[in-house]
Amino acid sequence: MEWVTTTQVLEELQSSNDAPAWQRLCDHFNTVVVNFAKHMGLSVPDAEDAAQETMLAFVKAFRDGKYNRDKGHLSDWLFGIAKHVILNFRKRQPLEQLMADKTTGTSFWDMIQDDNSIKLSWETEWRQMVLAKCCEQARREFDPKVFKAFELYALTQTAVDKVAQQLEMSRNAVYIAKCRVLSRLRELNGQFE
């Protein structure tokens, strides 16, 4: 999969009305919305439907010029749409009545999240998506051995000596691999949004 920034996705969406632009949008954001919807308690089919509905609402609003990038992050705007859509989905389920009476019931059972945790959940999904895409791109760019050294040492926290021995590198080369990959990931992260 090629490296596409959010700016590119939005520009394409603005200029063309064809299927590839829509597909690219879905590739970009669909997983985030599906996971978020699942976390909000929707079943998988409902979550996928909710994601579809969110995308449609997003494209419509975007083309109507309601989104101005100078006024806020795309993530926040998409969150507003997704939350609205998902809450509508939940209203269709016979669960809301069960939220009542927080003090007399065992409130800990009340697993319906408050606004903060909903937002936290969304931000986590979003960051995971962004970082996953950056990692995919970095993997494509770097020598496999260098990226493997980064993965083993930095992510899976394997001992540096073990990584150096396994990949036949010096210890310092492992440290440098970690530094280079992370620096590139930071660049990609900056470019993405």
Binding site: L98, D110, M111, I112
Partner: protein, 799 residues
């Protein structure tokens, strides 16, 4: 210094850089812009890495997240269908991404219960046998502060559920908002009580947080969702393989691979709860998960007393100890935490200290000590100031372990522990010094051997389990038993006894005979047992660093030394000079002090060092007064000297010995040895001049007796002139090595000489005091003018 490798930067950021390299690297950083940039970049990288680790971001080329399958209960009817007729489902009380909970009536027992369905398929599958077993154990746990698990089951469709006690009440944090600190602590103690009961059964909660603790109308705290919450309630749908729990209440080990959960994990969450109790805020409250996890892993919380001024420091320390990053530094279980809080409530001293504060202090002290050395080299501080500060810093760097301090306290349990140990020692001793014909010879040492081995094993096991207080008790008992057991074994089995060994004179036998002993102890046996005792005392001292073993080391060393002394045939000396028998033990103790000091046991070096030095001084003084001589070559009496003169000259020899010892101590150069050198350097000149003064005395009526040294007139005249000469030599000689002791002794000697001159020759000559004053003032002026004159001459020469 060249720019360091990437490895050094990595280690610097992670705080693993060796202390020796740390200062060097920091100095380099101040001057190298390139390294500064690299460091800043590495820090930014670490933040991103922390986020990557927390999110468990996949780096696989596929990169797609796995969809989680859920079992959906959704309605009361479906729940009823799954539970069957034994239960009547009333309503659903909660649902979310994790599970679904229903309020249910148990129709058989006619009581309200809560049923929790494990709705995540993957979770239910992961709820392996062990955790299921844990749920079973929890079912057996009947504690007033834990919501009981009544039943666990599986429906025909394979949906697992847990039937629990139905609890109504307020969240803990809501309940204690209007309460005083004492009332809050009361509730908190209930929570601790419940959790420690579970810890005792090996059950770990893993997700302690306010929503899992309810306070009932009867003001009773109930801990819910025990041991199960984690598998059922992962935080967010991501990263489940790595993370279980609630972010703000997670322990560092829960969010670091590999995840290792222990009762200390619960202690961390309890620490957060205590922090909330004390300050009404959370210690880690970042909203961004990556930042939050970074804080939990790497940052220390703000001191509670900085948020709420009135928080007792003991409670703050307890809280921060529970929040230690390293689980091994935390309270091991909720019980330990409970004990410390109870200790606080009883008004007892709480020894807990958060290690990060100590680390911080030690780091600062380390830097300051480095600077102090530089200041000393540049003479910005004097040696004396340096020593004083060093001694304070040393104490700060190695404070006594709280458990050791605890072990010194005489609590009931402590008294019982030591009393038990003492009785065991006495028993072994009785076994040793009486003959027990009822027991066959080869079995007589058995009880003592068994007791010793048991004590050692228990002591070491307790030490490994970090039960230091008990460990010290057991090891101390073992330490006392060791020499007795060895003597008993050697004596009963006739090993190295007097019959077979030429050096085996029965010394101890003579000593014990008065106590009605039948045992004959050979000197070699005594030698071996005292040597073993000494070796074990040292081993235990190294292990525990408890001062009790330092005491044992000293005693065993003295006994060992005495045995050497006896074996060497030196007991003959003691027949001549009583003091002689204490000289070698004194030297031994002094040397022991030196050794302990060299081995960095300075606090333990003081008692033997000081006691040894005192013994040396006393014995040398007594020997000097004695008609007998220990070292003939030092104290050989010249024919032409009379007895009193000889004794006094012997004192002068002692002064020289002290000065020699002072030189040795100063050469060895540690702070402790410099202190000894200081004492000795005062003793040397004082002995010398005081003796000169006494040697010059005529027949004196001291009131209670007449002192008549009977020194020939010629000799006395010699000493009379020698005193002022030596005094002046001391005063001026002190300049060479800044020897204050010589200077002040010299001044005292001059005063004595002036006094003598005044009394004997010049008491009626009025010009004498005036000439003294004039001489003094002249000296002062000369000493003021001469340097000025020398300086002006030097300037003229330069011009």
């Amino acid at each position: 210094m060249d720019c360091p490798e990437q490895e050094t930067i990595e280690h610097y950021i992670s705080g693993q850089l060796e202390t020796s390299k740390l200062a060097e690297f920091e100095v380099h950083l101040e001057t190298c812009g390139h390294c500064k940039t690299k460091l800043a970049e590495a820090r930014e990288n670490e933040k991103l890495l922390s986020e990557l680790r927390f999110l468990g971001t996949t780096t696989s080329s596929e990169g797609n997240s796995v969809t989680t399958q859920r079992v959906y209960i959704g309605t009361v009817e479906r729940a009823q269908e799954l539970l069957g007729s034994k239960y009547r489902v009333v309503r659903m009380v909660g649902h979310g991404g994790a599970g679904e909970v229903f309020q249910v009536i148990d129709t058989v027992l006619d009581r309200q219960v809560a049923v929790k369905f494990l709705t995540r398929k993957d979770t239910a599958e992961k709820l392996n046998k062990q955790r299921w077993q844990e749920a079973r154990l929890l079912g057996q746990l009947n504690h007033p502060n834990v919501a009981q698990v009544y039943n666990i089951g599986e429906s025909e469709d394979g949906v697992r559920y847990i039937v629990m006690e139905w609890v109504e009440g307020l969240l803990l944090t809501d309940a204690w908002r209007e309460m005083s600190l004492q009332q809050r602590l009361g509730l908190y103690l209930q929570v601790l009580d419940g959790i420690s009961a579970a810890h005792r059964r090996g059950i770990i909660h893993r997700d302690i947080k306010p929503p899992n603790i309810l306070v009932t109308a009867a003001n009773k705290a109930k801990v819910l969702d025990f041991g199960i919450a984690v598998d059922e309630q992962p935080f967010m749908s991501i990263n489940e393989s790595r993370y279980r729990g609630t972010p703000a209440f997670s322990a560092p080990e829960q969010i670091t691979a590999p995840v290792e959960v222990s009762p200390a994990t619960d202690v961390f969450a309890l620490g957060i709860l205590l922090y909330d109790l004390l300050t009404d805020t959370l210690p880690f409250d970042e909203t961004d998960p990556a930042a939050l996890f970074d804080s939990i892993k790497n940052k220390h919380p703000e001191l509670p007393s900085a948020i709420q001024e009135k928080i007792p420091i003991a409670l703050q320390n307890i809280c921060l100890k529970a929040l230690e990053k390293n689980p091994h530094r935390r309270y091991r279980t909720a019980r330990d935490l409970l004990d410390d809080i109870n200790r606080y409530l009883r008004g007892e001293k709480v020894w807990s200290r958060p290690s990060f504060l100590l680390d911080k202090v030690q780091q600062e002290v380390f830097y300051h000590r480095q600077k102090l050395k530089v200041w000393l080299n540049n003479e910005l501080v004097t040696q004396r100031e340096y020593d004083k500060l060093e001694s304070i810093y040393e104490r700060m760097m190695s404070p006594d372990d709280p458990s050791i301090i605890e072990a010194r306290k005489l609590s009931l349990s402590q008294v019982c522990l030591y009393l038990g140990g003492w009785i065991a020692v006495l028993g072994s001793f009785v076994l040793f010094y009486k003959t027990w014909d009822q027991i066959p010879i080869y079995w007589r040492p058995a009880p003592a051997i068994v007791a010793t081995v048991l004590m050692v094993i228990f002591g070491l096991t307790m030490w490994r389990r970090k039960e230091s207080r008990l460990s010290v008790g057991f090891l101390a008992t073992a330490n006392l038993l060791i020499p007795i057991t060895i003597l008993l074994t050697l004596g009963q089995w006739e090993i190295l006894s007097a019959h077979y060994f030429s050096w085996g004179k029965e010394t101890v036998y003579h000593f014990l005979k008065g106590a009605g002993s039948y045992v004959i102890v050979g000197n070699m046996q005594l030698y071996l047992s005292s040597w073993c005792w000494l070796a074990f005392s040292f081993l235990f001292l190294r292990l525990t660093k408890s001062s009790i073993f330092a005491c044992f080391s000293i005693i065993s060393f003295l006994i060992w030394l005495t045995t050497c002394y006896i074996i060497g045939g030196m007991e003959v000396w003691k027949q001549d000079i009583i003091a002689g028998r204490y000289l070698f033990p004194g030297i031994g103790m002094f040397v022991l002090g030196m050794i302990l000091d060299r081995r960095k046991y300075t606090p333990y070096a003081w008692p033997p060092g000081a006691a040894g030095l005192t013994m040396i001084i006393i014995t040398l003084s007594v020997i000097a007064l004695s008609d007998q001589t220990l070292f003939g070559w030092i104290y050989r009496k010249p024919e032409f000297l009379k007895s009193a003169e000889h004794h006094l000259l012997s004192f002068m020899c002692n002064g020289v010995i002290y000065l020699g010892l002072a030189c040795v101590c100063r050469l060895l150069g540690t702070r402790f040895q410099r202190a000894l050198a200081q004492v000795l350097s005062w003793l040397g000149p004082l002995h010398f001049l005081a003796v000169l003064r006494i040697l010059d005395l005529d027949k004196q009526n001291l009131g209670f007796c007449i002192l008549d040294l009977d020194i020939p007139h010629l000799h006395r005249m010699f000493y009379r002139f020698l005193l002022p000469v030596a005094s002046l030599a001391f005063v001026f000689g002190s300049v060479v090595r800044q020897m204050k002791s010589f200077f002040f002794s010299g001044l005292a000697g001059i005063a004595a000489s002036v006094h003598k001159l005044t009394v004997e020759h010049l008491d009626k000559f009025f010009a004498w005091p005036i000439s003294l004053i004039i001489t003094g003032i002249t000296w002062m002026f000369v000493s003021w003018l001469v340097p000025r004159w020398k300086a002006s001459v030097a300037i003229k020469r330069q011009q």
